[in-house]
């Protein structure tokens, strides 16, 4: 498949779970696309529903919340 379009995705990662998971993915050199922009939160419960809408308003193609 020819990749011409790379989506811009906002990702909220929980400091204790997914952020460490992402770190592990990096350390273990698992390949994943460079489309996500990470915001580390102290807990995924910290992510207000409003942030999701705000992210979309600011032109992100998608929003991920990993906890």
């Amino acid at each position: 498949m020819q990749e011409t379009y790379e989506p811009k995705i906002l990702a909220f990662l929980c400091n204790w779970c997914a952020y460490a998971g992402a770190d592990l993915a990096g350390v273990s050199r698992f390949q994943y696309p460079p489309s996500i922009r990470v915001i580390r939160t102290m807990c995924s419960g910290r992510v207000d529903p409003f942030y999701v809408v705000e992210g979309l308003q600011n032109g992100y193609d998608g929003v991920f919340v990993f906890g």
């Binding site: 989506p7 460490a20 696309p33 529903p49 705000e54 979309l56 929003v63 919340v65």
Partner: protein, 167 residues
């Protein structure tokens, strides 16, 4: 999150643009898999143009900031698992219905508030802008008037015009 997903569907943005998944600190591979799979999914949906959804997103934002929805979401466990101040317990299904009904109403109100903007509008103009039926607009406008968020301004010819009230 179900509320936000419902809102994104209402706004025709599509709920799959929001993804919530659980990844533990030990699951690096799972994280990589999720990102690969979901970026692909978002990539297939194509670029999102916020300019096309300005009204809808602003309305969704109003909903998520509204006291009614905040209260309903916050009281979820209290009402369905314990009891409310009248010692009544609501079963989760009824509660879900209640919330989604409230979300729809608040979303329509949000749309109307956005549509009125800074100049007086008639019900018909608002209906055209929001894509809602005229009847729905007048119902919600009624709610807004009761809540002191919008008011009748006067007639222009024979058409009634409405404006926003300063908060």
């Amino acid at each position: 999150m179900p509320v936000v997903k419902q809102l994104l569907d209402l706004a025709a943005v599509g709920s799959s643009r929001l993804q919530l998944h659980w990844v533990s600190a030990a699951e690096g591979q799972l994280f990589a898999d999720y990102v690969t799979e979901l970026s692909d999914l978002i990539g297939k949906l194509g670029p999102f143009k916020p300019a096309d959804f300005k009204l809808e997103l602003a309305a969704a934002a109003t909903v998520l900031k509204s006291t009614r929805i905040r209260w309903l979401i916050g009281m979820d466990r209290q009402i369905t698992e314990r009891e409310n101040v009248y010692h009544e317990k609501v079963d989760p299904e009824t509660y879900q219905k209640l919330v989604s009904q409230a979300v729809v109403e608040e979303y329509q109100k949000g749309l109307i508030l956005e549509a009125i903007g800074d100049k007086p509008q008639s019900v018909r103009e608002m209906a055209d802008k929001t894509g809602l039926p005229v009847y729905t607009v007048s119902l919600r406008l009624n709610d807004l008037e009761k809540a002191g968020q919008a008011q009748f301004q006067g007639f222009e010819g024979t058409t009634a015009k409405f404006v926003l009230m300063a908060a």
